[in-house]
Amino acid sequence: MEVVSILGEMKGKMKYDETELRLGIGLPGNSNKAVKNNSMHVSSGATNVNGKRGFVETTNVDLKLNLVSSKVESDELVDQVADSKEIKNLLGGAGSTDSVVKPPAKAQVVGWPPVRSSYRKNISSLNKAANKKGDEENEKVMSSPMGATFVKVSLDGAPYLRKVDLKMYKSYQELSDALGNMFNSFTIGNCGSQGMMDFMNESKLMDLLNNSDYVPTYEDKDGDWMLVGDVPWEMFVGSCKRLRIMKGAEAIGLAPRAMEKCKNRT
């Protein structure tokens, strides 16, 4: 599998220490600096470090995606492995046409830095408002109701739910990263340059559903279950009531609607 082998190569290059620490989430740590005793090693469910055979076998939620463009691939992997600048250099040619200049968001670790969720919710909406103000000091800032955009997230097979605040994220990619951290080495793949899931192409869609283990879906205001990525991000935030990451096979039933939309758009 392409993804896993590239990861394997990178692991070799990065020389991460094996460690006892369990959750193989790429940390926003200082991998540029001296190797630390406890650096987390990147896991995509591959190496078993401490006898956790049960976990790897029973709840490996690795999403085996056919990542289509190599540019996107490198972004994905970069996100997974956090500290990205060195990695981008390592990948060299693969990422050279990358039009995104800013460093990708570091993989977010749950609960770090330790700011309260109520605080985060407030701050993120304030920052957005402040950015919109620009030079116009007297522009009345939109005070969108601070009602929580917390939605429950369930993963088929996991016994407990999570909650995410959709207003915390600006794009599907960010949401996907956050969910990935929560559910451990799970990625929603293939965001195009607008940050939208590439559902525009029928064959890509079928590939996604056929090849992946898990697919993110959501229930919208009308009570319909939709595939995540169908609509622009803002619209999604406004209409999503809850998220469910379901097995790909089950999501096939949702495909026809998405297909309809693809057809209507072309």
């Binding site: 006892e20 740590g29 956790k52 976990f55 969720s117 407990y160 999570r162």
Partner: protein, 583 residues
């Protein structure tokens, strides 16, 4: 002949003793003192709702008027405690509704409160006066409506950062016109607009209203009138502090604030437009508390404000204040006791503001009364920490969060052991400490050796192995709460210090190296501890005992194991088993 002192006299004397510690000490003197004390205790604090049961509390203290209960572990604030963990206040309210008809005050923190609960509270206690819910959840504005409608003598309704299902703002209109008793109202966490005219009338008919914290939806234009209706306010939280620039609004605000001669605390300031800040200048000199943690204004504006607040004791601010603003703080506010600096962009990769360790060093130099610090920054050095420690040996709370996990000393690239070591060595009265940055077992050696008054310690991404934890558990004599995440601490330290756990309120460990086998041993050896394993992967019995568990919460209790745990929590019982639940 036995010497006896009339009970009434003792009771009278005890009525002057209010601290829990003292009351507890009094009750241990002899049986008769125990009896007298328990009948006259009016106020009780329960730091862990599962450490004791409502029944036990009621049996021992039949005449309670004020209850404070805490539920979820602190790390729940950062999403580390899964949904459904527990902390339900309902069983307490049910029991108290029968046993304490004269209950006046309920204060809750991190508990799950339902609308039914709120309705029950509002109807069961005829003299109910104070409801404070800090970081609670599970209720909606309908529950608030019951409280507003039914509590005839309500003095305080404080929703501090709770997560409220905001169905509408109409609930506030349920306060009857006859309600004039309000002293404190905090609705800052609510999203939707409350009926403004109802609010205005409520505020103006409550002559004792001291504290009013509005929510963001209350527009700035409405503030002057509100203030004119309550010039006696001591604490105000504004709503959104922005509007189009209109001179008449500015002067109206200025006027209103000038009339608030008793104002000591200010907060709110969402969406703040700097042009309106001068309206609060008249009150700055008298302010002791200023919370700008939602004010996205830049350093020059913040500095201008602070330079007028010579009497400030407490400042909460965003890192927009920058080192420059902190310098001004250090020069101006010689009475400063508490400083909290929050990150404006906690998840950003790069530094967006010019705030470094220097700011904190300045404040530590300039503010001789500084005792409580919470500081988010992106770099730190051992040298600065040593300076801070030497400047401020009177620190009581020191919580430093260097945003990048495991960040080294940015000058020497070493771990920050020496810096934090200096803190604990110099600050002998330190009660609370949160660590960050790259730390080895060394720092824990220092902590165990010096931090004798430390009561609460928070550890993240730190240490090398069991020895670190061992230092803390064996050395910190006053330790009550220990919370650890993502650190390589495991079985040996826990088992070697098992008895210590009974002297503490609680221990939280997540993403560490604790095996299920060790949990079983702890559960067996220490029957007065609840050992709760939180694991998403199904029962720990289905994996080898050496397997590490995801999260662990251990707390002492006299109430035995709890029965409200969700599917993913297993309590190790006395036989050392975590029984499979019946589906």
């Amino acid at each position: 002949m036995a010497y006896s002192f009339p009970e009434e006299v003792l009771e009278y004397v005890f009525s002057f003793i209010n601290s829990d510690k003292d009351r507890n000490a009094v009750s241990l003197v002899c049986k008769s003192w125990y009896e007298i004390e328990r009948w006259c205790r009016r106020r009780i604090f329960i730091g862990n709702c599962y450490a004791v049961s409502p029944g036990i509390m009621i049996r021992r203290f039949p005449e309670i008027r004020s209850v404070e209960i805490k539920g979820k572990p602190h790390f729940a604030d950062f999403n580390l405690v899964p949904e459904g963990w527990g902390g339900y206040v309902y069983p307490w309210v049910i029991a108290m509704s029968r046993a304490y008809p004269w209950l006046e005050e309920i204060r809750l923190k991190r508990m799950v409160v339902s609308d039914e609960c709120l309705e029950l509270i509002s109807k069961s206690f005829k003299n109910f006066k104070v409801l404070v819910m800090s970081s609670c959840e599970g209720f909606s504005t309908d529950g608030l409506a019951s409280v507003a409608a039914n509590c005839r003598n309500l003095k305080e309704l404080d929703l501090r950062e709770s997560e409220v299902e905001d169905l509408s703002g109409h609930w506030l209109s349920h306060f009857p016109d006859t309600c004039t008793s309000l002293v404190s109202l905090n609705i800052a966490c609510l999203g939707s607009e409350v009926s403004f005219s109802a609010l205005e009338r409520l505020v103006s008919r409550c002559p004792n209203l001291r504290m009013l914290q509005l929510n963001r939806a209350v527009p700035l234009e409405k503030l002057p009138n509100l203030l004119r209706g309550a010039p006696q306010l001591a604490e105000l939280g504004t709503g959104a502090y922005s509007a189009e620039l209109r001179p008449e609004l500015l002067s109206s605000l200025l006027d209103a604030f000038t009339g608030c001669k008793k104002l000591k605390g200010l907060s709110g300031f969402w969406d703040v437009v700097p042009a309106y800040l001068p309206a609060i200048y008249p009150v700055c000199h008298g302010l002791t508390s200023l919370n700008l943690s939602y004010a996205t204004i830049q350093s020059p504006d913040i500095s201008k404000l602070i330079s007028q607040c010579q009497n400030l004791q407490r400042l909460w601010v965003l890192d927009y204040i920058e080192d420059g603003g902190l310098d001004i703080l250090a020069t101006t506010c010689k009475n400063l006791e508490e400083l909290r600096v929050f990150p404006s962009d906690p998840y950003g990769v790069e530094q967006n503001v010019s705030l470094t360790e220097q700011g904190l060093v300045s404040v530590s130099e300039g503010c001789p009364k500084l005792q409580s610090v919470l500081y988010f920054c992106r770099r730190m050095s051992n040298a600065s920490l040593v300076t801070i420690a030497q400047n401020r040996p009177n620190l009581i709370r020191f919580r430093l969060c260097i945003i990048e996990a495991r960040a080294t000393d940015y000058l020497t690239l070493e771990p920050l052991d020496a810096g934090f070591g200096a803190i604990v060595e110099n600050c002998r009265e330190l009660r609370r400490l949160s660590l960050s940055g790259l730390l080895t077992d060394r720092v824990f050696e220092y902590i165990g050796k010096h931090a004798k008054k430390l009561e609460m310690l928070s550890i993240a991404f730190a240490g090398d192995g069991d020895l670190g934890l061992h230092h803390v558990l064996s050395g910190c004599e006053s330790l009550r709460k220990l919370e650890i995440r993502d650190s390589p601490f495991g079985d040996k330290a826990l088992l070697a210090n098992a008895a210590k756990l009974e002297t503490m309120r609680s221990l939280w460990m997540s993403s560490c190296s604790v095996s299920y086998g060790a949990c079983k041993l702890l559960g067996q050896r220490l029957p007065r501890l609840n050992v709760e394993v939180i694991d998403e992967r199904g029962t720990p019995e289905s994996r080898p005992e050496s397997c590490h568990i995801e999260k662990l919460y251990i707390y002492r209790t006299v109430a035995g194991r709890r029965f409200d745990t969700p599917d993913f929590i297993w309590t190790v019982d006395e036989e050392g088993n975590a029984p499979l639940r019946i589906a």
